[in-house]
Symmetry: C2
Subunit: 350 residues, 2 copies
Amino acid sequence: MDVELGQFDSRGGEWLRGEGRRSDIVISSRVRLARNLAGFPFLGRASEVQRQEIVDRLQPCLDHLELAPQTFYVDLEDTDRMLRRFLVERHLISRELESSKGPRAVAFGSDEVAAVMVNEEDHLRLQVIRASLALDETYRLASELDRELERMVEFAASSRFGYLTACPTNVGTGLRASVMMHLPALVHLKQIERVFRSAQRTGLTVRGFYGEGTMASGDLYQISNQITLGKSEESILDSLQRMLPRILEYEDKCRDELSTRGRTKLEDKCHRALAILRAARSLTSEEAMTYLSAVRLGVVMKILTDVALPRVNELFVLTQPAHLQKMEGRALEPDDRDVRRATFVRQTLS
Amino acid sequence: MDVELGQFDSRGGEWLRGEGRRSDIVISSRVRLARNLAGFPFLGRASEVQRQEIVDRLQPCLDHLELAPQTFYVDLEDTDRMLRRFLVERHLISRELESSKGPRAVAFGSDEVAAVMVNEEDHLRLQVIRASLALDETYRLASELDRELERMVEFAASSRFGYLTACPTNVGTGLRASVMMHLPALVHLKQIERVFRSAQRTGLTVRGFYGEGTMASGDLYQISNQITLGKSEESILDSLQRMLPRILEYEDKCRDELSTRGRTKLEDKCHRALAILRAARSLTSEEAMTYLSAVRLGVVMKILTDVALPRVNELFVLTQPAHLQKMEGRALEPDDRDVRRATFVRQTLS
């Protein structure tokens, strides 16, 4: 089933709803599985015709997958750039899949919990993303979908290495597990670099809100496993889950410190941020992220009582450029986007 | 009659009311006359006893002056520092008179239009300050009070030089006329230095909100005559009044430019400033002046419609440190002052 912009939930994917375990810090948990079809070369060596064959082979399978509550399928070769960018902002496709060429596609459930990218780096990348700290449930759903797909197609695998993937870092389980965390207190108290170093020592990677190479705007960080080869799914999830309580505890400690030693400064920062978001007539993307971060902290610390957490989470996505242009129904120059962004944020938070 | 802190108008002097000619730009017009008593040495050469004699000689005269609607008299030698600072912030005494020692005093009307400092640089300095562009009326009232005083005491004067004063720059008329202007557009478009240079070339001086050597915070500038010797009162007022329309026109032009070419940025700046003033939990004096300036511009340009101009004018004075401490009834550390300032501004502008 094809998708129109108007069919998307105007509040963003379900993973932004801000409910669940440690939702004061953890925005979402995400699992992705990299798979390739047996009998087809990896994409780096596949011809245009073979790429199209992969898409054609997978499309009916994805239709059968019955992603909840309704499956959308987007032929990305046929799509205009604004919808592709919109899908990136939505975390439904990667920036790589957006900007690459040739036959490629994505299927996703209308609740945006599960998505399958076709012809990204691998033939197939399955992603499940859920609100709050919920890695086990997230992995469980990804596994189910993986097994369903495996009943329909044969995946390239080796008895020695496990699943075969285009890049050796994904060989084995093809599993990447990550959590998106909001760490404003660690940033404010300049402790975030220590967290990064400590995460890296345990084989984890830290990236920004929009993945590899993106700035961590809004104090949002994705923490994920680095290595998949030679490890079981359980041990990958386990190494991430062992690290998370330490980061949570550290952020908690920093929030406590801000709340006691610098209470007034903290309240001042949160109240000003909300006031600016409610008053600005022009707002850059970076400003929006910065002030939303302070507002989010204010909401979870009960300093700001008249804003709902889901509204703040959603704005991190809904204020992105392609989203604003979608709302406006046309391409906008950066200055006009800033005005549109300010208007939208003002209306949402008033 | 002696004065208690509680007797002051909680909205500040009448000159802050923001009504009258060109009150969109001109906060107030001020005239001061420097006079010395015949038969007494200038203060630089006067003994402690002589200084006391001057105070004693002038006090009954000041009581007779009947400043409207009620005359207050403050013996500054007897006063605690907080009241003296409060009077400086009120523009009723100079910083010099505040920090000097020995017998000295001030008398002023409870509407704070007229004030007479005793033993500042000269034995007597009479000041009249009125809202908006009103130099002629202001000078007229100062002259009347000057004549009334001259009926009671003899002023030191020479037929050749006119009134004699401690500093040669005041000899002759002893007149300094000034206007306090709000020039945010000239500052924003980086044209203010040109105005200064141009004013200086015509024998005028530009100073900040609190006189000589103070920073021009809040985009507020006092423009006054430099030279009094060899000029009549009329020609002094005339040279200032010739310059003022040019500054007003230039600020008007810059406001027009901001309003057309950068309308959104201007609206954004004004709305954010008001939002911050209404939300902050801690506010430095400098921040208050900066945001009040943007709000004042927004009010006179009808961008901000739910704030009254007098409230903004008054806050420039009422948010000063001694005023905050007066409200609190005790000395406050800078951090506590910032919190008190934020609370007061929030309440006033809500």
